[in-house]
């Protein structure tokens, strides 16, 4: 009797190895959308034109022996219109043999035209969809958003991967802000700050990062150039930003290049002495860096000490000028992406925040930027 039972148990145990997933879906059996581009629709009712990029697994090199021919057709780009974003994706489904799958979406490209009208409506669907990851990158595209999906970068098989690498690398180098969907959503919900997103431009073959798009209440109000963005990154996130190439005063074709290595920013709120009354924000930013290039061959200083002293002073002025320019622009657009409002709300709630409307007050809030440059090395060159 016992024996028979143990045989039965063994048999049942073996059965468990045969188990599988009854509703499995193979990778090829779903249309994974890697990127979505959203443009204005044009036709009367259809507000949006949605373009998606779907990779064709079999055509991607390495996935199977035969693949990897040209990289031109490793992806399929499809375009539909709809009254809402979900409406458009539903319309797209009508044209696809497999089920659309948004779980792998990494980039949402939004055209500047739409962004200037406001993107709250677009993101509502993304907010509700459980598959959408908060880590995906919304990107604002100058011109048509779909152009971003149609580039043929050649360096990567799938255009979206190229764009992702571009942003990812820039993030690692500290030159491109890492603005995810989650950041955007947090910053729009938060009453003390405004969001900003990466801003790119796509030509037929290539894509180029051209700075950041700044927002106010879900509407794009302006943009920052790369140089302004680097000032912003230094002040806001203590990221190093790109190389600073400064023309030297009084010389033609004379430039000095600073490569920031470490940036340390302290934001303090002080009583405003110069203009009497009120508060003033002071960003004290310390940049440690190296001289990477110095190209007026003939200009020489008396001593290396002198060279470093002069350069530190001039670079300080240059960086302060840039930061000031950036702050003026932000004030013009009334968009506090510096996290200054958050700082005021957190640390000066009773003496400032509770009786000011930041939406109006930011414009006139005095902001001062003080750079400290510390040149550490001169590269491999010892002479100035």
């Amino acid at each position: 009797m016992d024996r028979r039972w143990s045989y039965l148990c063994l048999l049942l145990l073996c059965l468990s190895f045969l188990a599988g997933c009854w509703d499995r879906r193979e990778l090829e059996e779903r249309a994974s959308v890697l990127a979505i581009a959203i443009d204005a629709g044009g036709e009367d009712e259809e507000r949006y034109r949605v373009t998606v990029q779907i990779p064709i697994p079999i055509k991607i090199a390495g996935s199977s022996g035969q693949g990897g021919g040209g990289n031109s057709n490793a992806v399929k780009v499809m375009s539909v219109t709809g009254r809402t974003i979900t409406d458009a994706t539903n319309n797209l489904q009508l044209r696809l043999n497999q089920r659309l799958f948004l779980g792998h979406t990494r980039v949402v490209a939004i055209s500047e035209e739409i962004a200037r009208e406001g993107i709250a409506d677009i993101l509502d669907g993304f907010r509700r969809e459980a598959l959408i990851r908060r880590l995906l990158w919304p990107i604002i595209v100058r011109g048509k958003a779909s152009s971003l999906l149609e580039i043929k970068p050649e360096l990567a098989q799938i255009p979206v991967v190229f764009i992702m690498d571009l942003v990812e690398n820039g993030r690692k180098m500290g030159t491109i802000p890492d603005k995810t969907l989650g950041d955007y959503l947090n910053e729009t919900s938060n009453k003390s700050m405004q969001p900003f997103l990466n801003y790119v431009e796509a030509t037929k073959r290539e894509v180029k990062w051209i700075g950041t798009a700044i927002f106010h209440d879900h509407k794009m109000v302006g943009s920052l150039t790369p140089i302004e963005t680097w000032s912003l990154l230094q002040l806001r996130d203590q990221k190093r930003g790109g190389d600073v190439i400064m023309p030297l005063a009084g010389e033609e074709d004379a430039y000095v290049t600073l490569r920031p290595r470490f940036v340390d920013t302290n934001l303090t709120i002080r009583p405003n002495i110069s203009k009497g009354g009120g508060l003033e924000a002071v960003f004290a930013c310390e940049v440690q860096g190296d001289i990477m290039e110095y190209v007026p061959g003939h200009m020489r200083f008396a001593s290396p000490e002198e060279f470093i002293r002069v350069m530190q002073k001039e670079l300080k002025q240059e960086l302060e000028k840039r930061a000031k320019h950036m702050v003026t622009k932000l004030k013009k657009h009334n968009s506090d992406i510096l996290k200054l409002g958050l700082h005021l709300r957190s640390y000066h709630f009773r003496d400032y925040w509770s009786h000011h409307d930041w939406n109006k007050a930011f414009k006139d809030f005095p902001i001062r930027v003080e750079y400290t440059i510390k040149l550490r090395r001169l590269g491999m060159e010892m002479q100035q």
Binding site: A130, R134, G182, L185, S189, S346, R350, S354
Partner: protein
């Protein structure tokens, strides 16, 4: 191990087992919504909600532990008649105690239904999108049923084993998400009125319900085990975990965004990146482990109800097995009563406050009755000799 049908034979729970029992029962579905509910009134200071909200629980568990110490080796169902009437009139005692037993058991029963419903909702909305809610709930019930087939010592061991599996993922998520944290979000430390602190704490109370099952389980404590210690430590661990997860939620999202997230902790998991991209989609792994947390909540509570009934009717393990199979049917329909997600959160909020009232009220009442009847102390037997 010898199996006996009468409830009198006790398998000793160690202090640690009791701690695990309490902590793993408390940590369940509440942890997924806590960052949102805690910040709804307290805003940036939401992390205070679990701390203030647990105060009642400490007091209550202490009283429950003391009750159990007064009647060692007895469950709530067994000692209730002794509280209400003397030993000579068991009928009267039974009659007077029945309403309280009934209220308690049915309350735990309904709460269990709601927990499994919320569990089902999470799974349906985030991972198994095409699976019917009913199926998910039924699988959870099946697990709980399986546990109910066994004697009570199994419950303790299951909880002891699952305890690290519940604590560490939640702790890991809370700590790993600190790399994205912006600490400015939790300042100003306090800006709301004192009244709001209690309103905010009230929202967190639901997450601290469930320890009342110790009314049953304390009876199986080892002779030397520290019941009060187990209770306090159990709730303390839960409170620390909750506070950490709320702090993580606030510092990553900010309180405004938290208000817009249905399952803030799940979103927290989604935004947390493990360095090195070992696991890119952490939420599936987290939910898989989180099933254990819900299982201990549902199964412990359900077991307590079934065991209470078994003692109520003075029956053996066979009754327990049959009852546990049949009682799932009404539970299933109770769980399906709320029509939408808003209703679910509303009901769970009511359950939380009802639970607090019950847990503070009934033990206090029992003690008052014991004092009035002059039975607050265990009668000393040696005196009779002298």
């Amino acid at each position: 191990m010898k199996r006996q049908d009468s409830g009198s034979q006790r398998y000793g729970f160690t202090t640690w087992q009791q701690t695990c029992l309490i902590t793993s029962t408390l940590i369940g579905v509440g942890v997924l919504t806590l960052p949102r509910t805690a910040t709804s009134h307290l805003l940036e200071a939401g992390w205070m909600a679990p701390i203030v909200g647990s105060l009642g629980a400490y007091y209550s568990i202490w009283m429950i532990a003391k009750l159990s110490r007064r009647f060692p080796g007895m469950t709530f169902v067994e000692y209730s008649p002794l509280v209400w009437a003397s030993k000579e009139s068991p009928k009267l005692g039974k009659l007077l105690s029945l309403p309280w037993i009934f209220i308690y058991l049915s309350f735990i029963y309904v709460a269990t239904g709601m927990v499994s419903r919320i569990f089902g909702e999470v799974v349906v909305t985030s991972v198994l999108l095409n699976t019917p809610l009913e199926v998910i709930m039924m699988t959870m019930f099946l697990l709980a049923f399986f546990l109910s087939l066994h004697e009570v010592d199994v419950v303790a061991r299951v909880n002891e084993i699952l305890f690290p599996l519940i604590i560490f993922p939640v702790l890991f998520i809370a700590i790993a998400s600190f790399q994205k944290a912006d600490w400015s979000y939790i300042f100003p430390l306090i800006r709301v009125s004192g009244k709001s602190i209690f309103e905010g704490a009230y929202e967190a109370v639901y997450s601290f319900s469930g320890f009342e099952i110790m009314l049953i389980y304390y009876a199986f404590s080892q002779h030397k085990a520290g019941k009060e210690k187990a209770g306090i430590v159990g709730i303390l661990i839960t409170m620390v975990v909750y506070t950490l997860i709320v702090v993580a939620g606030i510092t990553v999202f900010g309180y405004e965004e938290l208000q817009r997230l249905t399952w803030p902790t799940l979103e927290l998991v989604k935004t947390t990146q493990v360095p090195g991209l070992i696991l890119e989609r952490l939420e599936s792994a987290f939910l898989a482990v989180w099933v254990a947390a819900v299982f201990t909540t549902v199964a412990n509570a359900y077991y307590a109800v079934i065991y209470g009934l078994r003692q109520c009717f003075n029956k053996g393990i066979l009754f327990q097995r049959i009852a546990s199979a049949f009682l799932f049917i009404p539970l299933f329909f109770i769980a399906l009563l709320p029509q939408n997600i808003v209703e679910i959160f509303q009901i769970s909020s009511y359950l939380g406050i009802g639970n607090l009232v019950l847990n503070l009220g009934v033990p206090t009442m029992y003690w008052i009755v014991l004092f009035l009847r002059g039975k607050a102390r265990v009668p000393k037997e040696r005196k009779a000799d002298g």
